[in-house]
């Protein structure tokens, strides 16, 4: 990826978008007042967020989804995490792309297709139980420093990305800086829909990096799924809302 595509330009929302989300916000607050209690607070908070976004005239779609865009209108996701392991260990783990689905929840599989692992075939889960496939190639490979890759011609969702590995100061392990650029179908609207379906890219990459950190530092993800509770009926769904939201 070239550096100028990494520049992020703020988006302003259209009047229609502001009206839509502002209205939605007012609705949520009204609902929260009727609802009361904890769920009421959550609804009210969500509603007020939407209103403030609309009032500020920031792109509400982008604000809600936290979607960042490059100057040529691609969606870019940049996330970083520090993992308490040596650079080489993490580089080696990542360099074998077949490891990626272990922590990238939206990936079904990655198959390395040639001897040096530069070309690979990726299968990703898409909304509504479908899947998307593409081929990718490694475009840069500096052991212990950086890996960059790019989807090849014919990908439904053309994408490219790179990860930089930097020793963290004070023996804190390794900083991973990940950047992925892609154009989802349907622009901002598509991203909003994707977000609603739990497939929003930025959050997803953040979750993925956290999962990688936990895998490498502890060997497992913490979980509360399956623990006892006195939950009845609808409360199970409410707990689910708060609990481990995974896209697996």
């Amino acid at each position: 990826m070239t550096t100028q595509t990494e520049q992020v330009s703020p988006q302003n929302s259209s009047p229609a978008e502001r009206l839509l989300f502002g209205g939605l916000g007012v609705g949520l607050i009204l609902l929260s007042l009727r609802q009361g209690g904890q769920s009421g607070i959550l609804l009210g908070t969500g509603g007020a967020l939407l209103i403030s976004g609309a009032a500020l005239g920031r792109s509400v779609g982008s604000a809600v989804t936290r979607v960042q865009r490059t100057e040529d209108d691609n969606i870019i996701v940049q996330r970083a995490v520090t993992i308490g392991k040596p650079v080489d260990e993490i580089y080696t783990f990542w360099r074998n792309f077949e490891n990626l689905p272990h922590f990238m929840s939206h990936l079904e599989s990655v198959r390395v297709q040639d001897g040096d692992g530069r070309r690979s075939h990726w299968v990703a889960k898409a909304p509504l139980g479908t899947s998307v496939e593409w081929d990718a190639e490694i475009t840069e490979d500096e052991p212990g420093r950086r890996i960059a890759w790019r989807s090849l011609e014919g990908a439904t969702v053309p994408n490219e990305g790179h990860v930089d590995f930097r020793p963290a100061p004070g023996n804190r392990g390794t900083e991973l800086h990940v950047s992925i650029t892609y154009r989802p179908p349907g622009g901002t609207l598509g991203a909003v829909v994707a977000r609603i379906l739990g497939e929003e890219p930025g959050e997803q990459v953040g979750d993925d990096l956290r999962r990688l950190k936990r895998r490498l530092e502890v060997g497992q993800e913490p979980t509360t799924e399956g623990q006892p509770s006195g939950r009845k009926g609808a409360m199970k769904a409410e707990a689910k809302m708060y609990d481990n939201r995974r896209t697996t």
Binding site: S32, G173, P222, A239
Partner: protein, 402 residues
């Protein structure tokens, strides 16, 4: 098994729920022999901590006997008698390795809510809402504990449950609050709030070398207990606290001041929402932030304000001008329980402190709802309730045995 379950604001009940199971290879199941009701449980009871869900099992102060361990548990054995620190440490992250276990990077399975509210997620906590992981608590007959090797602390022979139970939270919490005061010989320490944490803060301040401790509360039984520990006391209902503190310290003010009261935690959110959220959370009806404000005002110039009290969201009208112009230091935090366990167990073994003195009520688990009520309203002289999950409610003495 029986468990104490949160069923909405001011509604706790004792219910039959499924026994816990090992969910991960590093888990252990503890048969709970003693558990306590904590002041921070009251924030849950009162509905000030967001993301509680009906049916959540409460309790983060518990101990017992290990009855089952996962295949990857090495250090902890079936039959071990253990206390369970309330913050969950993974033992492997930078924070855990540096003794900051309540800030563990990896033990909260649900960190996104915490990040939205606080920027970063602290450790997972038992029995303490879904922001900190939604782990089922220990006010139950059995509890699943996680990362057993890193967390379960084996109790030395010869100490009773009541002597060691408070190592799970309030003793280290009071101790860390005192440690955060940076006490030097000759120092005078003021403690706002003489509840369980305040009691341990007072005793810990003396252990750490405070010359004098001045304790502030309004309940006579709490002030009595503070005096028994050697503190001078002020009743804020009848004494003008600021003036009295000044006078008692030769006009200097206390060298450090602890807020062991805590604000009723309230639902946070971006600043612009503060007013709306406050209304829905009834925070404006709470007078508890006064203790924090008063601590800042009362502290001497260049002194330290230590905050062991629980704060959850946003607070306003903090006297920042006083804070800055007096050059104060503030230290806070959920307790890094693990780092204090050996040290505090030593104090107990040498008889330098008897944590059980704060217990006023011993109840069966079936009486937990009653326990919550008397603790919340300070009825029956209640300072601290301990629950026995296995006692027969029939032959259990429900009245305080202090």
């Amino acid at each position: 098994m029986k468990a104490v379950v949160w069923n909405g604001i001011n509604r706790v009940s004792v219910e039959r729920v499924p026994d816990p199971e090992l969910l991960q290879p590093t888990d252990a199941i503890v048969r709970v022999t003693a558990t306590a009701i904590c002041g921070s449980d009251l924030h849950l009871l009162d509905g000030y901590v967001p993301s509680m869900v009906h049916g959540d099992i409460l309790g983060h102060e518990f101990m017992g006997e290990v009855v089952e361990v996962g295949p990857e548990v090495r250090r902890v054995k079936v039959g071990d008698r253990v206390v369970v620190p309330f913050p969950i440490a993974c033992g492997k992250c930078w924070y855990c390795e540096h003794g900051l276990t309540s800030l563990c990077d990896n033990s909260n399975p649900n960190p996104k809510l915490a990040e939205a509210l606080w920027g970063y997620s602290p450790a997972g906590l038992y029995g303490y809402s879904h922001i900190t992981g939604g782990y089922a608590g220990g006010q139950a007959q059995f509890a699943r504990t996680v990362y057993a090797d890193e967390n379960l602390y084996k109790v030395p022979e010869g100490l009773t449950d009541e002597q060691v139970l408070f190592l799970t939270d309030i003793f280290p919490t009071g101790y860390m609050a005192a440690e955060n005061c940076n006490i030097h010989p000759g120092d005078v320490v003021a403690v706002f709030g003489c509840g369980p944490v305040g009691q341990f803060a007072i005793r810990s301040a003396f252990l750490l070398g405070a010359e004098r401790v001045i304790a502030i509360d309004r309940f006579p039984e709490r002030l009595d207990l503070a005096r028994q520990a050697g503190a001078e006391t002020l009743n804020y209902e009848t004494d003008p606290v600021f003036e009295r503190l000044k006078e008692m310290t030769g006009g200097r003010g206390p060298d450090s001041v602890m807020d062991a009261v805590g604000l009723e935690a309230h639902a946070g959110g971006p600043g612009g929402l503060a007013d709306a959220v406050k209304q829905t959370t009834r925070v404006l009806e709470s007078d508890r932030p006064h203790a924090f404000r008063a601590a800042i005002m009362a502290c001497r110039k260049g002194g330290t304000v230590s905050v062991p009290g629980v704060y959850g969201g946003l607070a306003d009208k903090i006297p920042l001008g006083a804070f800055v112009n007096k050059g104060l230091t503030m230290k806070t935090g959920q307790t890094h329980v693990h780092r204090y366990l050996d040290r505090l167990t030593g104090h107990i073994q040498r008889g330098e402190i008897d944590p059980s003195v704060i217990i006023t009520h011993r109840l069966s688990i079936d009486e937990a709802p009653h326990g919550y009520q008397i603790f919340k309203h300070k009825h029956e002289g209640c300072i601290k309730c301990v629950l026995d999950p296995w006692a027969d409610p029939e032959d259990h003495e429900p009245v305080g045995t202090k």
